[in-house]
């Protein structure tokens, strides 16, 4: 069952179209990641979902209720089932306890009974003992976690998170992420905007790439490895993108003709295309080897940069640049330096073709 459906949502600010015909269907219990460049409309879309902003056109269906045409009272009832943590968390005057108790309070729950529950929630978010702190004196990360507690205490059916870990260090991020994953077990649906692609991959069942309209939506695996178009490819950081013209070749393969190379792909798209090969799918050898890989080219090292546990090596093959990741160890073993000649190999099935 879909907990939320957006149909043809559009929104303009001062003539400028921020969202254009956005369609989304979210199944109960899924985690949807909303990813896109800054200013692409993520926050706007989330605010529309939280009923804080009214779209210029389109339809919103929450739990089978047509939201935009429902009464004020119904809207409040719906909003009480949705919890949103804002990108720029603001606090009410008062203590952390008072801030977190706000939601239960306005729902008429007994405050005293809740005190224990709130303390537990704070504890679970690493804010144990913060009950009586002045909320406005919290640090950036503390504020963000308090904002999460303030929403979670209401046990929302749909949790809307706008960059929930933007102000957090890795340890706190890990904690929040595990809480988000935990929620999934309770059938809580989560929509989160994030600019951290890895985080999206880790937490989400579905990823939507947004830039005023939705460019691609699908499983993280699909979106990251099979971008449907150049925008998504660039944005998700697909590294080896090559332009060319694809034609049919033998055995269901297609041959992509770039200005200097012919690359074989097992995908069938024809015409002017982009092809991409993931760096981790490319192997390197100092000498030509016999493998099953259809694509083998000679090139030379053009750039080396270390990044964490890995080394990025860029290899120039007749003008096309291929990026390859190596572990430090194999990098050292091969004794590569700028200009070293080598061979690269990749399978036809590792070549993704898109428009």
């Amino acid at each position: 069952m879909n907990i939320l459906e957006l149909n043809g949502i559009s929104k303009k600010y001062d003539q400028e179209e921020i969202l254009r015909n956005v369609n989304l269907k979210i199944k109960k219990g899924t985690n949807l990641g909303l990813i896109g460049p800054t200013g692409c409309g993520k926050t706007t879309l989330l605010r529309i979902i939280d009923l804080l902003e009214t779209p210029d056109s389109g339809k919103i269906v929450f739990n089978d209720i047509d939201v935009l045409n429902s009464s004020k009272k119904e809207k409040i009832q719906i909003r009480r089932k949705i919890g949103m943590v804002f990108q720029k968390p603001v606090v009410f005057r008062g203590t952390v306890m008072e801030n977190v108790a706000y939601g239960p309070d306005i729902r008429g729950r007994d405050k005293n009974e809740l005190k224990g529950k709130i303390s537990e929630k704070l504890e679970s978010l690493g804010l144990g003992g913060y009950e009586d702190r002045d909320a406005s004196s919290l640090s950036g990360g503390e504020t963000q976690r308090m904002a999460l507690a303030r929403v979670l205490i209401n046990e929302p059916e749909l949790l809307v998170l706008d960059e929930p870990t933007a102000n957090l260090d890795p340890l706190s991020t890990e904690k929040i992420e595990s809480i988000i994953l935990e929620l999934k077990k309770n059938e809580t649906t989560v929509i989160m905007a994030t600019h951290d692609l890895i985080q999206g991959q880790r937490l989400c069942d579905e990823i939507a790439i947004l830039n005023h309209k939705i460019f691609q939506i699908g499983s993280p695996e699909d979106v990251f490895s099979k971008p449907k178009n150049r925008f998504v490819a660039d944005f998700v950081g697909v590294k080896n993108i090559i332009q060319g013209h694809a034609e049919a070749a033998s055995e269901g393969l297609s041959a992509i003709n770039t200005s200097s190379l012919i690359i074989y792909s097992s995908e069938s798209l024809k015409g002017p295309v982009h092809a991409s090969i993931r760096p981790e799918d490319i192997t390197i050898s100092l000498n030509k080897v016999e493998t099953s890989a259809l694509n083998e080219f000679k090139g030379e090292v053009s750039e080396i940069s270390k990044q964490g546990a890995l080394v990025n090596v860029k290899i120039n093959v007749s003008g096309e640049i291929f990026m390859v990741y190596m572990t430090r160890k194999s990098f050292l073993d091969m004794e590569l330096t700028i200009g070293s000649p080598l061979w690269i190999q990749f399978k036809a099935s590792a070549v993704h073709v898109f428009k």
Partner: protein
């Protein structure tokens, strides 16, 4: 300026001897002005909240009108309420003319625009973020208004203090509706007027100082309330 020194001495003397007429007038003054402030606040704060949060046509004009009523001369309010409460007026049967209740009505009307207007101003300064937060957490319209009020409580309390100041210091309404009747509707300001017109400047000054002293005490108390 000797009069001021003497006035001050006389004020101290009046207070120390607990002059019975002074006590009576002061009690009445406080009762009337506090009641008016209380009633006006009870009406103005929610009303100001509604006006601020509701979107409707003519809102800007309404606010302009309210701000214009800051210039309401007390005599005009006095006259208006007098005509309403006089035996021949619409509410003549209630026999409220020349009574403290009538004065409370007049002062309430006088300070309502200020209280409404400054409630609106106070609420305007609370960021939209907080309104959004409250709505997002599931608050009803009423609850949101209440929340934003609490955020603006400092400024709203300042408006209430102002309203009280206006009520306790005005004389036009008190004299037109109260009639400055000894033992019934005489308050500090009307006494000051009377004594000034009698030429008792020092007594007037003494009473003025006492009025300010009372206002100080009330303000301290209102500030105390606001802290909690």
């Amino acid at each position: 300026m000797n009069e001021f020194l003497n006035g001050m001495l006389q004020a101290i003397n009046l207070i120390l001897t607990l002059n019975p007429e002074l006590v009576e007038i002061t009690t009445r003054t406080l009762f009337i002005s506090l009641s008016a402030t209380f009633i006006a606040a009870l009406i103005a704060i929610p009303l100001g909240g509604l006006i601020n949060f509701k979107k409707f046509k003519g809102k800007r004009s309404l606010i302009n009108l309210i701000q214009t009523l800051y210039s309401l001369p007390t005599v005009l309010v006095g006259l208006f309420v007098f005509l309403l409460l006089s035996q021949q007026g619409v509410f003549g049967d209630l026999n409220l003319l020349f009574t403290p209740t009538g004065m409370i009505i007049g002062q309430t009307l006088l300070i309502l625009p200020i209280l409404i207007g400054f409630t609106i101003t106070a609420l305007k300064t609370v960021g939209k973020d907080l309104t959004d937060l409250s709505i997002s957490l599931g608050a009803s319209e009423f609850q949101t208004i209440y929340t934003i009020m609490r955020e603006a409580k400092y400024a709203i309390m300042a408006a209430v203090i102002l309203g009280f100041g206006r009520a306790i210091s005005e004389v036009g309404v008190a004299i037109m509706i109260g009639g400055n009747i000894r033992g019934a509707t005489r308050v500090i300001t009307t006494t000051i007027s009377l004594e000034t017109s009698k030429g008792n400047l020092e007594l007037s000054i003494a009473l003025g100082i006492i009025l300010l002293g009372i206002a100080l005490i009330i303000n301290l108390m209102l500030n105390q309330i606001q802290e909690n």
